[in-house]
Symmetry: C2
């Protein structure tokens, strides 16, 4: 499994992916699920992928070689806008489907893939898409400023509560790291290191791309800070004044303080 998250913020994009790939719990590897295509000053695109590794690698290779869209062979370096970029990624996935799906199906393996495509091409707005296995896609909007693929449930509550379109990039980085940390703690199939990319709207270039390892001091700051804050949070919420709990309050408070 995989967990990838992308934030669509006023200031720009924050995209984060884990790197764990597994074929059963006894076959775990590290593969980057983040791919970038840039022509600095003109375009910046970042792709995050989840699903069957053979499918995502095949789609990525096809994208680099060129995929037919509107009767022309195109790449992410020459599509003219982000909508075309998302369509091209969809076509690449459809090409893989046409090549491999029948044999996968014959062996009872689902055609499992999803790709996030974020970025900006000069002359157009910054956009963030989620392309499905069928090659169709949805787009993040100010009302729905984040997208997730893969093992998304554990890390969703913190995003539901914290991310708005006007959230700053700094806050966004913390939130995706907490969301990822929650997922990694709860599910063995997602793991470190992480790949983080930050894009600032209007710049058409990568602002920050960083491989975050277990020992990363900032990851530790976020983990410890979050852990301590949560502990303070639930100690800080008053206890219920329901009859039973009232009677026990003295004991409980003593234990909480201990």
């Amino acid at each position: 499994m995989t967990y990838c998250v992308g934030l669509f913020l006023q200031e720009g994009l924050v995209m984060l992916a884990d790197t764990r790939t597994n074929a059963g719990v006894d076959h775990i590897s590290t593969f980057s699920k983040m791919f970038t295509v840039t022509a600095p000053g003109e375009r910046m695109l970042c792709l995050l992928s989840a699903g069957n590794l053979a499918i995502t690698q095949s789609a990525w290779n096809r994208l680099q070689d060129g995929v037919f869209l509107d009767q022309r062979k195109q790449t992410l370096l020459n599509v003219t806008n982000m909508f075309e970029a998302a369509r091209l990624v969809g076509e690449a996935i459809r090409d893989v489907y046409r090549a491999d799906a029948a044999m996968l199906s014959a062996q009872n393996i689902g055609f499992d893939v999803s790709v996030m495509v974020g970025g900006q091409i000069a002359g157009g707005p910054m956009r963030l898409y989620l392309v499905y296995a069928a090659g169709n896609f949805i787009e993040a909007t100010p009302d729905n400023p984040f997208l997730q693929i893969g093992e998304h449930k554990y890390g969703k509550p913190v995003l539901d509560r914290g991310v708005r379109h006007d959230t700053s990039i700094d806050q966004g980085i913390k939130l995706v790291l907490v969301s990822m940390d929650s997922t990694i703690r709860s599910n063995l199939t997602c793991g470190l290191p992480l790949d983080l990319l930050v894009y600032r709207e209007g710049t058409h270039d990568i602002a920050l791309q960083r491989r975050i390892v277990e020992e990363d001091p900032y990851l530790r700051t976020v983990r410890v800070g979050w852990e301590e804050s949560l502990r303070a949070a639930w100690l800080g919420i008053p206890s219920p004044d329901w009859e039973y709990v009232q009677q026990q309050k003295t004991t409980s408070e003593k234990e909480s303080a201990a």
Copy 2:
């Protein structure tokens, strides 16, 4: 879907269930998923159920009528210890399987059910079990002091971080309410009102049983307190000192403070 959680704490048990039942998003109803059996001073058992409503209701009815275990018809009022209680619940589920599974399978409906069984019977220890659709079961332990059934992923991170065997009941109530609130916000198929039960170890009686509705003042206290604490938490974590973010810090801090 459903979300139920049970905490196995030194002080006692905290058990919480939502009440939403749905057959498609256009057929939503409220059904209690909490069942209690008590002989005050001698035994207290609490069951929480998830899965196909027809299966759980059938199992519960069979339990009330009596189910054959060790060649004798028994109920939760006369089994002699908690291990037998869990076995009896398993047998009730197996009886439903024998009666209904073939026809369900013919109509492509899975045999989907799980039941949590917590409580204490005089002469034995307090225990908390999770009974599977096959009628077998696992038990909570001091190392693994909580069990969940149904839509468990959204609400798991807060329990992973917060619940230990020596957590007080007061803290436990807050944690299960936050865990449930996270689930309800992220998944439409879980909904209010909630059923909460508290059992204090050694008492063989219900300490608190409460139907928690949308307007419940304490639920609101927990929701608002948690929301505010989280906001404070991620504002409190320092921003990364990575080169890019350093440059933007002034802007971001202004926005955070605004």
